[in-house]
Amino acid sequence: MIRYTLKRFLSLCISLAVASLLIFFVIEIAPGDPASFMLGINAQPDTVAALRAELGLDVPKFERYLAWAQGMLTGDFGMSYTYRTPVSQMVADRLWVSLPLALFALALSTLIALPAGIYAAARRGKTGDVAVMSATQLGVAIPNFWFAMMLVLIFAIKLRWFAGGGFAGWNKGLGAVIWSLTLPAISLALPQAAILARVMRSALLDVMNEDFMRTARAKGLTTTQTLWKHGLRNALIPVLTIIGLQFSFLLAGGIIIEQVFYLPGLGRLVFQAISARDLIVVESVVMLLVFAVIVVNFAVDLAYAAVDPRLRART
């Protein structure tokens, strides 16, 4: 197990290094010089040159990469070209919105999906299964921005149970945060839950056809006991994979929902930074997201090994 963890950790470090190189140079290749963009089309060449020097754009690319990577490691993400504030501060502010939102949505999606999937698998072909499957079909098909607007209409405007938009801020307390994040989290969670429930169901159905499930029945376990004691853990591998992917998606992919609910999240930050050629912000946020994805994958790998002893042995 220690060997497996070390091996996974080593691969995590390599992935991070490769990703940082890719992100930095791909964004550098993108057209548009931040300095001339900031000064507008009528700027004098020497003004532009001065600004380039001030922003540190005149040093060779590779040195800039090293400085940037080193800064990333120490928490210094540099200064935003457009806002002239530390990027780390901007990102941290946004992260305090996006991270709880993603976790909230993921928790909701998992809490809805796993029971629904297990229930559908246990009642395969019966009314309960058909109902759950139709619901997930709908969940996948409905665009989440439309669903978000419906939620706002009903729960924010009509019933006034939750906030219809904006972020209360952490200084108002946990209750206020939940009040403003509930509707966005539900809109994000719904399609994810629909996908996850289907994965859970089909993984469990696959396992139910395995020989060892029949062996368990021959020992005297009831169908329900067999499902819980022998089926579930074996079905978890594909489910964990999807949960890992969904977290990464929820962290950055919520931009539409952030727009609908006026949430100052990471998605909006990247969007604005790209439009303003604020490359350093883009690089930092993208790197942060990559970091999150890789760390989540690492966690998922460890979870695999916890679930399946064969993986511990193989590597």
Partner: protein, 532 residues
Amino acid sequence: MSLLNITNLSLSINGTKILQDVSLSINTGEIVAVTGESGSGKSLTALATMGLLPEGSQTTGTITFEDQNLLTTSEADLCRIRGKYIGMVFQEPMTALNPVQTVGAQVAETILIHGAMSKSDAIAHATDVLTRVGLPQDRYPLSRYPHELSGGQRQRVVIAMAIALRPKLLIADEPTTALDVTTQAQILDLLKDLAHDYDMGLLMITHDLAVVANMADKIVVMRLGEVVEQGETKSLLTNMQHDYTKMLFAASGHQVNLPDFRASDVLLNVKNVVRDYTTPRKTVFGSKGVFRALNGISFDIKRGERLGLVGESGCGKSTLTRAIMGLEGVQGGEITLDGAPVFTGRKPNLAVRRKMQVVFQDPFGSFNPRQKVVRLITEPFHLLETPPTHEERQRLINQTLTAVGLDPSDADKYIHQFSGGQRQRIAIARALIIQPDLIVFDEAVSALDVSVRAQILDLLADLSAKYNLTYLFISHDLNVVRTITDRVLVMQHGEIVEQGETEQVFTAPNHPYTQELIAAAPVLPDLQQMKG
């Protein structure tokens, strides 16, 4: 009063009739074997007794177990009976255990779900039971996972789970079919001893008459969902009434008329072949290990010779096949066909490759289901520099299909329209069509029913006479190898431990391993001797 009494059991699944008026009974301490070919309904009879029939099953008749009709017993009551009073052992030990639970937990579970003992007692008892089935704690701790055990060891765990609560009846569904012969002999002995020690009824389901002839008290012969004949083992075998029983017995010990082999020149030469596989590092900074799968293998196949290769799983048979076919390079030695190497540089030598063909074990998995037979059997033409066209091609297709006992019109059918035996004929046709110098049969008859197997063996003998075939016949079934080959190699741990004329090796084996193999192989009893 019998322990188990099945009376006029009929079963249909979703309207299809599966079993028809099956009746049989087992007494305490008695071993009853149910035998028959695939589709005879023997496994479903067992599952009906366990109350584990698939959905959509409808039954009539009675299955009485100690005065209780299991067919009308509620599911909740059946759960209390299963595992406690009736235990079951399955065919495939590799998949019958939960891969994510330790074997100790799985054995203890049988005890715990029936509330027989406290948790600590259950674990202590699981330890005892595992020791009883031959897995003592000092060598096989309870904390082992199934993947850390061999097939035979896993089957012992499955048996331990089934007998943990000393059931009155043990049902074993082909318990040794997936195992090597020496392991098979050990497991059969274990089952026999357990039935005797625990005074259990043992219902043994098997397709192999030879396996049960020496251990069963009674034999029940089934065909197509019906019992055709049953009786006490000795009287049934010495006085077979039904034609099917006679046919089954004859087919099990079927001998073919192999044409004589005339001495000739060497076709395939295997010289000092070594094949190493690297194994993963044991520690993070340790060096990679080496597993030697083939260690200095040398032998010849002469033109027109039929060579057998026997050995247990993991002995290197498949590795040797891949090396001969030129699919993988070797780390030492040389393999040549007609003097030309089978593997050059980093890929198979095509000039040699087209002189060899292979027939695999699984008649169901080795064909593309979306291609017609004509396309399947003409596939080897790709190997030729100038594939035959038009009339010549058609002539070869017709000729080959006829040669393997099929009709030229079968060329336009799809593979699902054929039975297992017919598919294996198609596989042989695919190998024959380019008239290769050497054919490798890799367990080619192992998945077939005995009657079909006898037909395929006859076909091979016929083809040998007609085409002067040269082949390497790989099998774990010693009886088959004995009749279908001229010479035999015995492999163990990547080495050839004995080789010689087949009859010679079988009647007077020299190497202890060969002796062990031959002693372990189940044989049909000599009927004359039985009568006498």
